[in-house]
């Protein structure tokens, strides 16, 4: 019960858990679309590509306010994504290579700028470093407010364009034949994904943010065939992983929040892969061992 009362009354833990819950909720919901559209690794590329945006936003404004840094991150993430779309559209280079190039070149560029800033003693980039690995423990209530505002906006837009995004995810050609602006919707949906990723960067960091896009959605996919349920479940799993991960990491030294949250999310995936109704591996195995009996019975009946 101590943990429960800590969650409610300990300011730091409450803030961290709330932040992790918001990021899990938003990235779970929007990650569902990414997973369905075979863009699971896009999150990895976007989160890396956001780094130079954070640094440049700081260099231009001299401010470390979360709003400024998030806007910079979102701009760079979106630019990276558009470049990637351009590379796959105009050349024979496939998506995986385009992702790898954007991911590593943007991140390297951000790293270079970050270390360049470091020489200037006035501009110790302490606040910026957290974006690399994430430091959920440093989350303040104002950070969480910004996360909630951006995440809420992204979810509202998702709800507003629900039908269009659904069509885009399952049958883009049909969507185009109906006269929907497919390219524009694609950019909008990807933009929302950028928002989901960017609000999580400060908490779980560049490297692990991609897992928060994929894991809740992949787990939710095992339980349902309906998009609405999948998005809701993924949001629930994401938020659950956030809260549980934040709580566990508060229990011991050396348990950084980001990795723990990712491990909790991965455990949910593993559980779902085995035990999900219908699709789960366990039920498939059971069906397989029962089938011969059923066949014998059926065969015997016919004879």
């Amino acid at each position: 019960m101590d943990i429960l009362s800590d969650l409610l009354f300990n300011y730091t833990l409450r803030t961290v858990a709330l932040g992790a819950a918001i990021l899990g909720l938003v990235s779970g919901a929007l990650g569902s679309f990414a997973v369905l559209r075979r863009q699971s690794l896009l999150g990895d590329a976007i989160s890396h590509a956001a780094l130079p945006g954070v640094v440049i936003a700081y260099m231009l404004t001299g401010s470390k306010s979360p709003l400024v840094l998030l806007l910079g991150a979102a701009a760079a993430g979106l630019l990276g994504t558009l470049l990637m779309m351009g590379i796959t559209r105009y050349t024979r280079i496939k998506e995986d290579s385009a992702l790898g190039i954007i991911l590593s070149a943007f991140f390297g560029f951000g790293l270079m700028l970050l270390t360049f800033l470091q020489q200037n003693p006035q501009a110790r980039q302490a606040g910026l470093n957290t974006f690399l690995f994430g430091q959920a423990a440093t989350l303040l209530m104002r950070d969480v407010m910004v996360m909630a505002a951006f995440g809420g906006g992204a979810l509202a837009l998702m709800a507003l364009f629900w039908k269009e995004f659904k069509l885009l995810s399952f049958d883009a050609d049909f969507a185009a034949s109906l006269g929907l602006p497919v390219r524009l919707l694609d950019v909008l949906l990807t933009g929302l994904l950028v928002v989901a990723i960017v609000i999580g960067l400060q908490a779980v960091g560049v490297v692990l943010m991609s897992a928060m896009i994929v894991a809740p959605a992949a787990a939710a996919r095992q339980w349902t065939d309906r998009l609405g349920w999948m998005v809701a479940l993924a949001a629930l799993f994401g938020a659950f992983a956030g809260v549980v991960g934040a709580t566990i990491s508060s229990l011991g030294r050396g348990l950084s929040t980001g990795p723990v949250v990712v491990l909790v999310a991965s455990a949910i995936v593993l559980f779902s892969l085995f035990f999900a109704a219908n699709r789960g591996l366990l039920w498939a195995r059971l069906r397989q061992t029962r089938r011969p009996l059923a066949l014998i019975e059926a065969g015997g009946g016919r004879r």
């Binding site: 790293l111 490297v207 897992a211 894991a215 095992q222």
Partner: protein, 368 residues
């Protein structure tokens, strides 16, 4: 240039070439993102091997890490084979989990040791010359000795299995039919990628490993259709980014690995924009050329159709093109000007006439 500077550049070039060679096959086989996964999960291999050996110098670390690279690939494939998740999702699930595990193990049990996550991701090439090793009576930086070994291994692997790799890459069905095991080639390549990632990541960090494996190979892919040439170009572009990145980092006093990754991106961007035939400038110019060529052929066919007929006076006037071919006036004027310059048509008293050239152009266009 001091000898330390020279050594750093030498290490960087060797790393770049060693990464670019297997990178070519990753790009061609559409497995680029596996290098990202492997370059992260080898950290777990290093940590686990460290727990066993209790030493950061042990060569066992490289084996442990390389084995973890192969385990990553196997796990991704296992997950994919359940048909419950797609391959991209499988990659996205496996490597963050293994990486998280490594980060927690390090911070909980190995925090006193020189094994911090920052160095792993970002590398610190500037310190590479300080760790030295004596090989065959020569005193070399440790990473240089290791990377030269790995480079030779990569060259040997690609040299020995060149035919198999080529066949498995471009026609895996034929390779299987001829009795080569695509799985064996696949895991062989992944083993090479893993070993390279481990060695390189010690020197330059995991992010630069991805940059050096993918970007130079992708740039080379835009420049040539020939596999040996692509291998050579990728190695050259990798080496060029390594050296230019070093000097960029020096000029800015910034992280060397970051600057090198930036340069791989910039060189790729150059290829993307300016590559002959496949760059976007070349594509735009080709489209432009095709647009005019098509318009002129359409004009020639139109004139050929109405040549010498009763309605020729109307049909073969410049003003009529706007009605007949639905061309804007300005566009029509430009087509006519180009056609006249190209000696496809001539103008007489406001009437358009085909030249001999134009007639054969129209006839040819009609045949195809």
């Amino acid at each position: 240039m001091s000898s330390a500077q020279l050594e750093i550049q030498l290490i960087a070039v060797v790393v770049a070439v060693a990464c670019a060679l297997p990178g070519v096959f990753l790009v061609l086989r559409r497995m680029a993102m596996l290098s990202d996964a492997i370059s992260h999960t080898v950290l777990l291999g290093i940590v686990l091997a460290f727990f066993v050996t209790q030493s950061l110098e042990s060569p066992l670390l490289i084996f442990g890490a390389a084995a973890m690279g192969l385990i990553t690939v196997a796990l991704v494939e296992m997950l994919h084979k359940t048909q419950l998740v797609r391959q991209d999702a499988a990659i996205g699930l496996v490597f963050p989990a293994l990486f998280s595990l490594a980060v927690i193990l390090i911070s909980r049990f190995a925090s006193g040791v020189h094994l911090d996550v920052d160095a792993v991701l970002l590398g610190e090439l500037a310190f590479a010359p300080f760790e030295r090793l004596t090989v065959l009576g020569l005193e070399l930086p440790r990473s240089l000795a290791v990377m030269v070994g790995i480079l030779l291994l990569n060259i040997l692997f690609i040299g020995l299995f060149y035919k198999e790799l080529k066949l498995a890459t471009f026609d895996s069905n034929l390779a299987a039919a001829l009795g080569f095991s695509p799985a064996l080639i696949h895991y062989g390549l992944m083993g090479v990628v893993s070993v390279t990632a481990v060695g390189a990541f010690d020197a330059v960090g995991s992010v630069l490993v991805v940059a050096l494996m993918i970007a130079p190979a992708a740039a080379a892919y835009l420049l040539t259709d020939n596999l040996p040439r692509m291998l050579a170009l990728a190695a050259g572009i990798g080496a060029a980014s390594a050296i230019s990145g070093y000097w960029l980092a020096r000029a800015l006093d910034a992280n060397i690995a970051g600057a090198m990754a930036t340069m791989t991106g910039l060189l790729f961007l150059l290829a993307f924009v300016f590559a002959p035939e496949r760059g976007i400038v070349a594509i735009a110019r080709r489209r432009q050329r095709q647009k005019w060529a098509f318009a002129q052929a359409a004009l020639a066919i139109h004139l050929l159709n109405h040549e010498g007929t009763a309605v020729a006076a109307v049909e073969c006037s410049a003003a009529h093109l706007q009605d007949h071919l639905r061309w804007e006036a300005a566009f029509a004027a430009q087509v006519l000007e180009r056609a006249q310059k190209g000696q496809i048509i001539s103008r007489e008293n406001g009437l358009l006439r085909l030249t001999e050239n134009g007639r054969s152009l129209a006839e040819q266009a009609l045949v195809y």
